[in-house]
Amino acid sequence: MKPRWLSLLLIATLGLTACSEAPPQVHKAKLFTLGTLVDVSVLHPNEATAQQAVKIVEDELAIINSQWHAWRDSPLTLINQQLAQGKTVTINSVSHHFLQQAQTLAANSNQLFNPAIGSLVSLWGFHHDDRPDGAPPVKEKIAAALKQAPSMANITLTETTLASNNPAVQFDFGAFGKGYAIDRAVEQLKLAGIENAIVNAGGDLRAIGAKGDRPWRIGVRHPIEAGVIASIETNGDESVFTSGNYERFFDFDGKRYHHIINPRSGYPANDAISVTVIHNNAATADAAATALFIAGETEWPQIAKQMGIDEVMLIGNDLTIHMTPKMAQRIQLEIDDAQVNIIAGDS
């Protein structure tokens, strides 16, 4: 054997060993909190630091959950009691920020994101961790709740007080609190020096940084079949939120009733199967996904524009995939023969 063959053999061997270098380590943890399963992924070389990051997320989510829980005894249920009695409520700066953000999002969505309809949500039986199958509310009760027309426009906020001119205002921040909690958790992670992580609460997530030398890859689950319908590579710091009619529901007399209540009709919204939103702020993405789901196939582009959302995918009842041009540039469809409609304009 010539020496050059020896060299080539050794180079090939060394090349293979170089290929076997371990990929960056992602530390994963699952937590039962916020009424759902939270999946935390942290890319960090130090195991102890990653575990500490998970603890940071757990603690922050627990704080938000206990503060804003809509049906277990909490500061929020106390606020609801006081508003029902027509009282002005004293609030701190954190609550002021939370309520102000929710009020702005509600206004921008034409009140389709309406966290003031807690009584209606409760009437539908969704103020339980585990809603049993059973009859929906009678139409007279729904009509009565609608007539009171509670909305975020009824409330007046100052730095230290909250008041309502409508005693029917009862808050339920189910379409906002999870996003807000994720935002808070991610901000705490950043303060702790974590640069690459995903916080996924029940399927809705915010991802920061990347997985080493590539972006985080997110699969969007198909709304009616097994597997994913699309995938997204996140860019820096982004939230991906989906609202769908398959998340929480009950069946009665062969009909399915889901948990996203249209504040205009009083019944579960039925003009879409799911809506996926990408935005850098998780709370905004959370509220927008709900508002656009309720807006449905005809109204969603206008509401998205008002809310400053330019990356949206709505799956209609006939499984047509409607997208903004910017979402179409971002998303990779993972199914064959999809019927896709990319809306005109820059929204």
Partner: protein, 118 residues
């Protein structure tokens, strides 16, 4: 070539097939699943068909493993959404009975996605 050269050649020749097998080919062994009960996580193989009874916060959830797939078949929750989730087969797929605080996630080689949105 010296004796040391021959030793190096022999070493490299033996090492090459080992590295090809271990670094460039996939692990064909059956995938597994992580079952989380409260804060405790247990990894189980999906290679053999069997049924598990797991006592959670509310009662007993029954989880079935068949043909490399896994699913909830019974749970004490009211909504039964864990059962509606059906069979889980691919790495990254999961289902949870939140009231009973039990979740199942399919594990595998490097999953295609880092996180699933729904």
């Amino acid at each position: 070539m010296t004796r040391a050269d021959y030793c190096a050649v022999l070493f490299a020749t033996l090492l090459l097939p080992y590295l090809y097998i271990n670094q460039w080919t996939g692990d064909e062994a059956g995938i597994s699943a992580a079952i989380m009960n409260g804060s405790e996580t247990t990894e189980i193989s999906l290679a053999h068909d069997h049924t598990l009874e797991i006592n959670g916060a509310l009662g007993t959830s029954i989880i079935k493993i068949e043909d490399g797939k896994i699913r909830f078949v019974a749970s004490p929750c009211l909504g039964k959404q864990c059962i509606h989730s059906g069979w889980l087969e691919h790495a990254g797929e999961f289902a949870a009975c939140l009231p009973n605080r039990i979740s199942v996630a399919v594990l595998g080689e490097e999953p295609r996605f880092d996180s699933i949105n729904f």
